[in-house]
Symmetry: C2
Subunit: 389 residues, 2 copies
């Protein structure tokens, strides 16, 4: 397979974008990425769009050619494909784009992710989000996505003594970073006390332990590494791209506090890249709920099993540490437009590796990790990105 | 890129499968394909699932890991991805599976397609199907999918003198083949008169010019050609796999009677395979409406522009001719479970090339074509399959 590089990256602001439509945010992110890559649209071979639920959310399936069309590119008759895997849709689209370039099927492709969650009522959006868990065995019995993650949190507290405060510290750090990120949905700082006293959603998780419903879009341009220097002085090489799946329903898992799909995807990714967790300097991990980030840090191999709570609460993953986690603010503060999340993670890590992240710039590193999850972990996707010097 | 072969094929009956759920039909097709390929599930690397609208139809997104899970394969932690492009979802999944094997990312993958359309009311299913056209510029103004295809039919009649009877002859031949296909939704023969006198849907198209709403699933197993002989005496090589897109809305096309995405995908496919339309002995083409098949035959290069009507009405594409079109009965008679269609086309052509199609066996040929369309042609996918002797 050919080596693949990210040549450009772009994204919209995340938030309640009531003044802009799905197709408008989709093309805004795509054009930013093309401009950043200094690539002409005539060079493109394909578009891979990550999107969770446009059919239910905006009455529109078939959104990949729609975005091409509204970008003015219909006349090129490119390949355009929508990729879906719940909240992991964006990262899966990145994986498919990677395969398209690696295989030689296309030279230059755009990978996009977009979701418009706030055009329907919150109750309806939540119903749709729950459809990424097992509808017949979970949702119909009232187990919502927050309730399922709350069960994982309870079990982690029971098995490892993880404290409510450790969970809350994830939200505090996320908002600290969001305050430094002009694209973030939430730019307000939070105190531990505010998180602890927030309205309960599914105990132990409160309102401020949960990522918001956001609108937003993100895009990256991929191409063969051997041609990357023509477009950029700082190509970012995709050194690993791995997907792993697990049971849909939580009750079938061997352990409620381990997401095996993440464990397996991470092992495969580090093996593909011939690198180890300790080589990673910046990581964007799935924090749809505060517990999600703690599980991710253990499952990715950044901290031993059961020790993520104290480590996080002690600031071990804050900006400036050996490993900075979620400098974007993550799903919690940057926002959670499902299909866009995995691509936005790539945008953030590209900017970090290039040294363009300004106020939220992590210490210099040449290896970044992206971790995106669908549902309660039925899908996990792990990418490793490396700055080529 | 490595050469890719189809090693096994399977499908459920298409129809109103009220006694079986989405997940049940998905795994039935997959197991059939695995058994046909004589492959153990332990050899698999990935599952690509084509599906149009499970979120709206059965309240379930994230269906690729769901099918893996219910097939008992969650413990292998395979990669599983859903692919969507309206009615072309199944063929797009085949394309992604092809890239995964061609690139070397995986050795053996299952490509599945499934849709459950009859669990909701017909009016609701039709609303959902319309979401594969441009929601904001077509559907909200009342232009349904049948109405849009009817406009193309009217224009073809106006420009080329195509007769109402020629359109109807497509339905008559489809049901003639469906009668020979135990998996077909419709197994009754039709007379030209019955088609002409059926209830109007969107003139000139009547009820019997339109494919039905079906449930169903289909699957194929792909692997590297160099290892195919271990599994089968008759590997079927994928000699071309091409996707092209066009505008979502019909009013932006340069010509209402030509689907440029099909023209471009076909040209690329014949170039990739170094073959020509006259080499093809059997073809499964998109006949969601009778006019769809006529346009396809022209756009794929099987008949000069404007001459598909008389050619079809004269029986030029019937069983036993130099080119047999839609021996399965097509979308019209075999049925139209959207996300399953493109994969079912592959199943039929595999059986035809192997000489296993019994009553509906076309004359011996070593080259078959698959043509799948999303919406009104915003996506077209063309595959060429070759029997390796």
């Amino acid at each position: 397979m050919r080596e693949v590089a990210i040549l450009g990256a772009g994204m919209t602001r995340f938030g309640e974008l009531w003044d802009r439509s799905f197709r408008e945010i989709g093309i805004e992110a795509g054009f930013q990425a093309l401009v950043d890559a200094k690539l002409s649209s005539g060079d493109l071979g394909a578009l891979y769009m990550g999107n969770m639920a446009s059919g239910s959310l905006i009455d529109q399936e078939h959104i990949a050619p729609l975005i091409l069309d509204y970008a003015g590119l219909a006349g090129h008759h490119l390949e355009a494909v929508r990729i879906e895997g719940g909240g992991a849709s964006g990262a899966l689209a990145l994986h498919q784009g990677y395969l398209a370039v690696a295989s030689g099927a296309h030279d230059f492709v755009v990978v996009g992710g977009a979701e418009k969650l706030t055009d329907v009522a919150d109750t309806e959006a939540n119903r749709i989000i729950n459809s990424t868990a097992d509808h017949e065995w979970e949702e119909v019995f009232g187990a919502t996505l927050p309730a399922l993650w709350a069960m994982m949190a309870r079990r982690h507290m029971h098995d490892y003594g993880t404290t409510r405060e450790a969970l809350a510290s994830v939200a505090v750090q996320a908002h600290e970073m969001g305050a430094k990120n002009p694209n973030a949905h939430y730019r307000n700082r939070l105190t531990l006390d505010q998180v602890l006293r927030a309205t309960p959603v599914a105990e132990p998780l409160g309102m401020l332990d949960c990522a918001p419903l956001s609108d937003g879009a993100a895009a990256v341009v991929l191409g063969p590494l051997e041609r990357a220097r023509k477009f950029t002085d700082t190509p970012i090489r995709i050194v690993a791209s791995q997907v792993a799946c697990d049971t849909m329903a939580l009750h079938h898992r061997r352990d409620l506090t381990t997401i095996d799909s993440t464990v397996v995807a991470a092992k495969r990714a580090f093996a593909q890249a011939r690198r180890a967790p300790e080589d990673v300097g910046v990581a964007e991990v799935h924090d749809g709920f505060t517990i999600s980030a703690l599980l991710a840090l253990e499952d990715l191999g950044f901290v031993p099993k059961g020790q993520s709570g104290p480590a996080f609460a002690a600031g071990q993953f804050a900006l400036g540490q050996k490993l900075t986690v979620n400098p974007s603010g993550g799903l919690k503060a940057q926002g959670c437009p499902f299909g866009a999340v995995g691509v936005a993670q790539a945008v953030e890590v590209v900017r970090q590796l290039r040294g363009e992240a300004k106020e939220r710039q992590a210490p210099a590193t040449n290896l970044g990790l992206l971790h995106d999850v669908g549902g309660t972990g039925a899908t996990s996707v792990v990418h490793l990105l490396e700055r080529v010097n």
